[in-house]
Symmetry: C2
Subunit: 195 residues, 2 copies
Amino acid sequence: MRTFVLCAHEAPLDAEIPLDDLPGHGRFDLLARSVTAAFLLSHDIRADVQLSLVLRDSLVIRLDGAELRHLHPDERSAAALLRAALEAKDGAIGAIEANPSPGVYVARRGLADILEETDGTLVQLHEDGEPATQTSPPADPIFVLSDHESFASEEMETLEKADARRVKIGPMRIHADHAIAIAHNWVDTAGYAQY
Amino acid sequence: MRTFVLCAHEAPLDAEIPLDDLPGHGRFDLLARSVTAAFLLSHDIRADVQLSLVLRDSLVIRLDGAELRHLHPDERSAAALLRAALEAKDGAIGAIEANPSPGVYVARRGLADILEETDGTLVQLHEDGEPATQTSPPADPIFVLSDHESFASEEMETLEKADARRVKIGPMRIHADHAIAIAHNWVDTAGYAQY
């Protein structure tokens, strides 16, 4: 299983998101593109992937590629899928997730909860990390990324406590969705070894 | 200079494109995301990049990173920029480009014209190509990609005549915008050598 965890610092927690203005609502456009980058192949979906969008460290939309349906490549329809998840958040009570559509779950959780509940090896994409070519992708990577803002100090602490491996995938600072595409490529090629 | 050339086989040639339905209009969503993948870094723009969108082998929207303004990361606003270029196409007469906004040019050209006019080494991303780790990126790569459809037979002939190098960037068939992100990463790292 390949897991991506994206910390979204300004994302709305309610569903009042006009699809014509995604950037103006907590950079919801970036969240939508991260979904398509995580799951979509050309004319196919990655079944062995899950993505958790951690909104303001208090609400998590989790998507599971094995069950996911109705995901199209465009940003607007991915955003609509996420917005429908927010509409269903009142069904998430305690640790119980709401499940508004196939493969889409919502829960009242934070980053620390998600990392605790997910099996695998934590990989933080980091500019001071080890170059991706000098290390092999772990068997079940959990890639943790931040949105257009840097990780908050509590998030950094959580990642340090969880002993995250720091890996550098390139010299440029890039958008989260492009980082997901490159992380996939690193794992797809078994660390640039198999083509 | 890094150049991307994307062949769009079903793209509209006029500006009748509602921004609420980009996928239904020749996969205009994919063209928009290819623009942002080609040019945008986190909080920055790649000045040394140009992208030519070859629409139905008859009209070319060329974007130049050194001059480009008003490009935002979301799909909708990139699509609006491209749509404005289509609105200005009547200003493109003969080989003369129209220039509706900074860094955006429109011309009545096809793939063969563009390849002839662009300096650099042609690289076709191809599943039978040489693995990217076994070859170095050329100094001035011209990456040629196709949209959601395969290259047409005339395009294949043009690429063969132009002696394009075939490079494989990974084992999966992925979307063009993600391929652009990975191609950038290959060049950014000087062929996975510099991080």
